[in-house]
């Protein structure tokens, strides 16, 4: 069902019919005979010869290629395997020149190479020859179709095999340069060749793991990329690569700890991207010995909104915020924290590696949330870019501004401008960041008019910029944790986890009138006492909000929530839940509502609660 387009089965025209009859009859006979031979497990040279002839006529025949693999490994053919496989390579070359996009032919090629490889022993000359043959073939096929992904994938696989092989070789071949040259040549021929750009990104991600090391000079690279951008400002491929080189930091962006806070006698550690953490150690300034402890994700895994990724081997979770469990609390304000996080890596040949771990360390304040939000604000404003990256960002921003003067409607340039501005603003003062967020929201609105096909992406970006502004202003206030964080009516479709972690410690949060579709990151804000989520589009069960342990008041009215009698224990201090207009309450009476909402608590507790219900309009539950 995933095959390519097959040609129509055409009935022969009358004038050709007789001639075709003869040909079809023999062809059909040959194929039929071969399938019969295979079924009878006949392995001999004659069969090998017949399949070879049949496949020359029509190479799109997976079963026959499979038969050949059986023949070659049957041990019944008297010739040495290496010789047989070399014949196979020739046959395949012919087949590939005829049909370049057939999975089964490419698979057979891969199989032959994998079996030929051990036959070559450790003779570097033979391996080099094999590599040359493959590169030559792929080169020719890419000339015919520069985006043929079968060919690209095959080439990548062969390079991986050789990379693994030459690990123990005294004089390894410089595979990186071979890849780089191909990528450069193809891109110079056509700047829109995304496949060639893809190779270029993989190449740089591998740098450092490979011998001899291959480094691409980023300044030269960007200059070359800019040539392409100025020639064809609306080409997607080159902009994707530009983004990868600049904002995505060539895929080398590793997770870091953004900040650590202390709240109610516990320590919480926050990361710049989701990590899978397990153990950590914390030491006070000036001390060498750290205290060991376990990390647990803040959002409990039983929650329906836990959308993190347990690894296959161990049921581990990823998340941005982690609670540090330790017996002994540090007393000092400055701490050093080391966290072991799991990495889902890959081997040079592209296969997934076993899970390894890396250490992330942090040296800085252990912020006491009961004192002030000033240090959290500092963390929120971020770190300055390293000098070298800052220069790159500035140069690129200047170039893009220049481009926008010539091409004021180039949306790719707009988006790149916004990303670079945001990167440059990191670590700067509040006022500067505030104005950048305003600019970001504006460019999102502008991009939306230029590219209405994707207006919703831009509307999300605009909402995120406005939310950042609000959180920043709230943190800068004199008594953030005693005041309301108002994120109402920002058109947010989700509360961005990376912003929410900086609101940790908030007691009163207003998210009314957005377009949230789930509780999401709200459930990680375990300091919340009063949350208002009225007039969103949240689905799920109202009682899911009970994971917030300090909750007193929750306004969940006018959402798509249900009330299914979830067995969740309500927070001890809970007094007030507004369920007006919620689907699940429309046709229920007061007692049933209370029963369903508090399904997880004891009967005695339920008796303290009453509900005020006006069907379709009002449904408020209160504790007496």
């Amino acid at each position: 069902m995933h095959g390519r387009v097959k040609k129509d089965v055409v009935e022969p025209s009358p004038e050709e019919k007789e001639k075709q009859r003869e040909q079809v009859r023999t062809a059909r006979g040959l194929f039929g005979k071969l399938l019969e031979l295979r079924q009878n497990k006949v392995y001999n040279e004659q069969a090998l010869d017949m399949t070879s002839k049949a496949l020359q006529f029509h190479p799109e025949f997976p079963t026959l290629w499979g038969y050949r693999r059986e023949l070659l490994t049957s041990g019944k053919i008297s010739k040495p395997l290496r010789e047989l496989l070399e014949v196979e390579m020739k046959l395949l070359e012919k087949a590939l020149r005829k049909s370049q996009k057939v999975y089964s032919i490419w698979f057979h090629r891969k199989w032959v190479i994998e079996h030929l490889f051990p036959e070559l022993g450790s003779d570097p000359e033979s391996v080099k020859q094999l590599l040359d043959t493959e590169l030559d073939l792929c080169g020719k096929l890419l000339e015919v179709d520069e985006r043929n992904f079968h060919c690209w994938n095959h080439r990548m696989h062969v390079m991986g095999l050789i990379r693994t092989w030459q690990k123990d070789q005294a004089e390894p071949m410089d595979l990186g340069s071979i890849d780089l040259k191909l990528s450069t040549d193809l891109i110079n021929r056509n700047f829109s060749n995304y496949s060639a750009w893809h190779l270029r990104t993989l190449l740089q991600q591998r740098a450092g793991t490979e011998e001899p090391q291959m480094e691409i000079d980023i300044h030269q690279e960007l200059e070359w990329v800019q040539e392409g951008i100025f020639t064809e400002p609306n080409d997607q491929s080159v902009w994707l690569y530009h983004n990868w080189l600049t904002t995505l930091a060539r895929g080398t962006d590793t997770p870091r700890i953004t900040h650590c806070v202390r709240m109610d006698g516990s320590i919480f550690v926050f990361f710049s991207k989701p990590v899978c953490a397990s153990r950590a150690s914390i030491s006070e300034a000036g001390q060498k010995e750290g205290v060991e402890g376990l990390l647990e994700p803040i959002i409990p895994s039983r929650s329906a909104v836990q959308r993190t990724r347990p690894s296959a081997r161990r049921q581990r979770l990823c998340g941005l915020g982690w609670q540090f469990r330790t017996e002994r609390m540090p007393c000092s304000e400055e701490v050093r924290i080391k966290v072991a996080i799991e990495v889902f890596g890959s081997l040079p040949d592209g296969k997934a590696s076993p899970v390894s771990s890396m250490e992330v360390s942090f040296c800085g304040p252990l912020i006491d949330l009961s004192v002030s939000s000033r240090l959290v604000l500092e963390a929120f404003l971020g770190q300055k870019l390293e000098e070298q990256r800052r220069e790159v960002f500035q140069t690129e921003l200047d170039r893009i501004n220049e481009l926008l003067e010539i091409e004021p409607d180039c949306r790719w340039a707009f988006l790149a401008q916004a990303r670079l501005q945001e990167g440059l603003a990191s670590g700067c003062a509040s006022e500067q960041q505030d104005s950048v967020q305003v600019a970001l929201a504006e460019s999102a609105a502008r991009a939306s008019t230029l590219d209405p096909l994707r207006k919703n992406f831009y509307s999300d970006a605009g909402a995120a910029a406005r939310a950042r502004q609000k959180v920043q202003a709230w943190l800068a206030g004199p008594d953030a944790y005693g005041s309301t964080l108002d994120l109402g009516s920002l058109s947010m479709r989700h509360l961005i986890p990376g912003i929410a972690t900086f609101a940790f410690g908030v007691r009163v949060l207003n998210l009314d009138g957005n377009q949230l579709s789930e509780f999401g990151a709200v459930l990680g804000l375990i300091s919340l006492e009063d949350v208002s989520l009225s007039k969103n589009q949240i689905r799920g069960d109202a009682a899911e909000i009970f994971v917030l342990p300090k909750l007193r008041r929750a306004n969940l009215s006018w959402n798509h929530l249900g009330l299914r009698g979830l067995n969740a224990q309500p927070p001890k201090m809970l007094q007030y839940v507004d369920l007006s207009g919620i689907e699940g309450t429309k046709s229920l009476d007061a007692q049933v509502v209370v029963g369903l909402l508090l399904a997880g608590s004891t009967e005695a507790d339920c008796q303290h609660w009453t509900a005020e219900v006006v069907p379709g309009q009002l449904c408020i539950c209160r504790r007496q």
Binding site: M1, H2, G3, V5, K6, K7, V9, V10, P12, Q20, Q23, V24, R25, T26, R28, G29, L30, F31, G32, L35, Q39, K53, F57, H58, F61, P62, T63, G66, R69, F107, W111, R147, F149, W152, M156, H157, Y194, S195, T201, Q205, D235, Q236, G251, P274, R307, P310, S311, A312, C318, S346, G350, A352, L453, R454, N456, F457, R493, H494, Q515, E518
Partner: protein, 378 residues
């Protein structure tokens, strides 16, 4: 208008089917007349001459899948072939039955069983409401599919051919197994008969690239491609493991899918490629799966990600006036693009508020690739 349009496409499919059976019959006749000595006669012919001709024979290597495209496209257009007492129904049933080889199905009666043909047979048995064409109730088909799982969790296409796992086969296997599930287990939990579903999920998740799309095999070895993205995502969906994707990889994927729509409304399969009708399915179905999975924003719909009216306009241009859908406007239609073009079109039509456009196409199930009304009937 809508009814007329559906009629044209049905006529195209009928004509194709009739022509196909005629050709098959013709080839069978020749085969019957064949004597052993003639089998070597072909060697005397030049490759060019025979090549053209052999296309007919070689179409047999995906015959059962082609049959599924044609029959399923008919079902999508509202035809209920299973209740008809027609010649074509009996021809179809006869062909599917004669492709059965032990526990699996071959693409053609004279070939050997493979995974894709077996899954096509399962899908056909659902559309035609004929579970009995599959097996004798011993779960043999299911066992056959399970036997194709490799140590790393992925699936291969046929027994004993040492093929490596590939996301297409992995998806196809999961799809077949889902359709063959015991009635009691329907929609209930993971596919527990698969060995280590978490490992299968991890294998599929590892096919995702940094740009957000998925390649054919894990870990950056393969460039992102809309078809492979669909296979990985639909596989994850059938395992109920889309929630294992992190927030970031979801966002990246959604952005990658949203970027597939080109000027002119059509959808391409990779950055910088031409729009093609069949990518409407791979891309929209992937988008529907990620948007509707638990943990995503259900408020976002296909209409938020794509300009659906512009897409429908492109598909209208690809549709031939005599029925059938072509890859690009002005090309000749073929069953593959007709099926996937119409399936994608159905997702686009059903995602829009205006009910008048939906009528002529049934709603498609995004991971089982069958009309929703038919799923769950094996």
């Amino acid at each position: 208008m809508a009814v007329e349009r559906a009629q044209k496409h049905l006529q195209y499919l009928d004509a194709f089917l009739a022509r196909g059976f005629k050709t098959l019959h013709y080839l069978d006749q020749l085969r019957a007349q064949l004597s052993e000595s003639e089998t070597t006669g072909l060697f005397g012919l030049g490759p060019e001459k025979s090549g053209k001709l052999l296309a007919a024979c070689v179409a047999e290597t995906s015959l059962l899948s082609a049959l599924y495209w044609v029959i399923c496209a008919g079902a999508l257009l509202g035809r209920n072939l299973s209740s008809e007492d027609s010649e074509s129904l009996s021809q179809v049933l006869h062909l599917v039955r004669s492709c059965r080889k032990g526990a699996g199905f071959a693409p053609h009666p004279s070939h050997e069983p493979d995974l894709l043909s077996t899954v096509s047979a399962v899908q056909l048995s659902v559309i035609l409401k004929r579970p009995e064409i599959l097996e004798d109730g011993t779960g043999a088909t299911r066992k056959y599919i399970l036997s194709l799982q490799l140590p790393d969790g992925s699936f291969t296409s046929r027994i004993g051919s040492a093929e490596e796992g590939d996301c297409r086969f992995t998806f196809a296997a999961l799809c077949g197994l889902s359709l063959l599930r015991e009635p009691g287990a329907k929609d209930g939990g993971e596919l527990e008969e698969v060995r280590d579903p978490a490992m299968v999920a991890e294998w599929l998740l590892n096919c995702q690239n940094l740009d957000g799309g998925f390649g054919c095999r894990p870990k950056g070895e393969c460039e992102s491609h809309a078809g492979h993205t669909f296979c990985c995502l639909a596989g994850l969906s059938l395992l109920q493991m889309i929630p294992r994707m992190t927030h970031r990889s979801r966002q990246r994927l959604i952005r990658w899918l949203g970027s597939r729509q080109c000027e002119g409304g059509g959808i391409n399969g990779r950055p910088g490629k031409k729009a093609d009708a069949c990518y409407t399915w791979w891309t929209l179905a992937s988008a529907k799966l990620i948007l509707s999975s638990e943990g995503s924003s259900p408020s976002a719909t296909l209409a938020d990600l794509f300009d659906l009216p512009a897409l429908e306009k492109f598909l209208e241009e690809c549709a031939s006036p005599d029925g059938g859908v072509a890859p690009h406007p002005g090309d000749d239609p073929d069953p593959f693009h007709t099926f996937f073009g119409l399936s994608g079109w159905s997702l686009a039509a059903h995602a829009q508020a205006d009910a008048s456009t939906k009528g002529w196409l049934q709603d498609m199930h995004a991971s089982l690739v069958l009309p929703v009304g038919l799923t769950g009937t094996v």
